[in-house]
């Protein structure tokens, strides 16, 4: 039933259109979205880690709007890319790792946004060091996005997405 759905998606007119016509544009948008999403989160996370203390932490919240633009660019382009290889991707451990890393990254980003960037504590204005809990969240966020990138890249090179099977 699930396999039938995946195969139907993969053989749909939509997937064929993506593969034959839209692919270069879609994969390019996926890279631009990545640079926006992960790049701006890097800025936020390294500030939380204590770099560039002259930057008021609460002012970083405005960057979150742009982070979401990057995220939705990649959610939409990602679904389009998934449709081409639906069955292969669905059963790939690398694909599952990538999606898990993205889920963890999003949750950490939401926590950092709600607890750290919106904090009324003096550290938000750079007067004192950020608390250790905030730094742990920032490091975990950087690691989860790096994992998502690595898993996504490996996915393009290992046919079944499972390392060792080519």
């Amino acid at each position: 039933m699930l396999d039938e759905f995946l195969m139907a998606l993969q053989h749909s007119q939509f997937a064929t259109w993506v593969q034959e016509s839209a692919y270069p544009v879609v994969i390019t948008l996926h890279s631009i979205g990545l640079a926006i999403l992960v790049g701006l989160l890097v800025v936020i996370d390294v500030r939380v880690l204590g770099f560039a203390r002259g930057l008021p932490i609460h002012a970083l919240r405005k960057l979150m709007t742009v982070v979401w633009i990057g995220f939705w660019t990649n959610a939409v382009s990602g679904v389009m890319l998934f449709s081409i290889d639906a069955k292969k991707d669905f059963y790939s451990n690398l694909f599952r790792l990538k999606l898990s890393a993205i889920a963890v990254g999003l949750i950490l980003g939401a926590i950092i946004n709600a607890r750290v960037l919106s904090s009324p504590e003096p550290y938000a204005s750079g007067e004192t060091d950020t608390p250790i809990q905030a730094r742990v969240l920032a490091v975990a966020s950087l690691l989860s996005w790096a994992s998502a990138i690595v898993a996504g890249r490996l996915l393009a090179y290992f046919t079944y997405g499972d390392v060792g099977i080519e």
């Binding site: 926006i36 800025v43 405005k62 290992f158």
Partner: protein, 166 residues
């Protein structure tokens, strides 16, 4: 057309770097992962500065944002090294590829554009504290910067689609 050996490209291909990248199925995907991580660091930080200059997240003072530039240079360094390794992997794929040539030209333009910011408007950066609008010239340079870096991503992605060597 490009099937005959070219002395310089052949020498580059035979370097130990080229041999190393070709020797393992892991090398290329790993280098690609690093190239995307470096891209996120570089374009995320430069993009954040550009967005602030253009008026987004005005609560961020521009001068301390520049404190993040060393991290952007680390991203650039990662991509320079991994990029050279891709080139050595198979110089014939890149040397004659129009997208690769456009990408290199755009990176050069991005560098000159950043130099223009440094020499033309950086002297005023101290004045652009929280909530203060940057000058018209700074906005023009930042808008160009964003467009050029997006162009670099597009050209980089299109290397795979404009290759005459397989």
């Amino acid at each position: 057309m490009i099937s005959e050996a070219h002395p310089i490209l052949e020498w580059i291909k035979q370097t130990s770097i080229g041999e190393f990248v070709r020797s393992s199925t892991w090398a290329f995907p790993t280098l690609q992962s690093l190239h995307f991580i470096g891209m996120s660091m570089l374009i995320g930080i430069v993009g954040a500065i550009d967005l602030r200059v253009l008026g987004l997240a005005r609560g961020l003072p521009i001068h301390p944002l520049h404190r993040l530039l060393p991290l952007a240079f680390i991203g650039f360094g990662i991509n320079l090294v991994t990029g050279i390794m891709f080139f050595c992997h198979d110089p014939y794929v890149y040397a004659f590829n129009p997208s690769f040539r456009v990408k290199m030209l755009l990176i050069l333009l991005a560098g000159l554009n950043a130099l223009w910011f440094r020499l033309g408007v950086f002297i005023d950066v101290d004045k652009w504290g929280p909530g203060i609008e940057a000058s018209r010239l700074a906005k023009v340079i930042s808008a160009l910067s964003l467009l050029i870096w997006i162009g670099v991503i597009i050209a980089g992605r299109f290397i795979a689609f404009t290759s005459s060597v397989h």
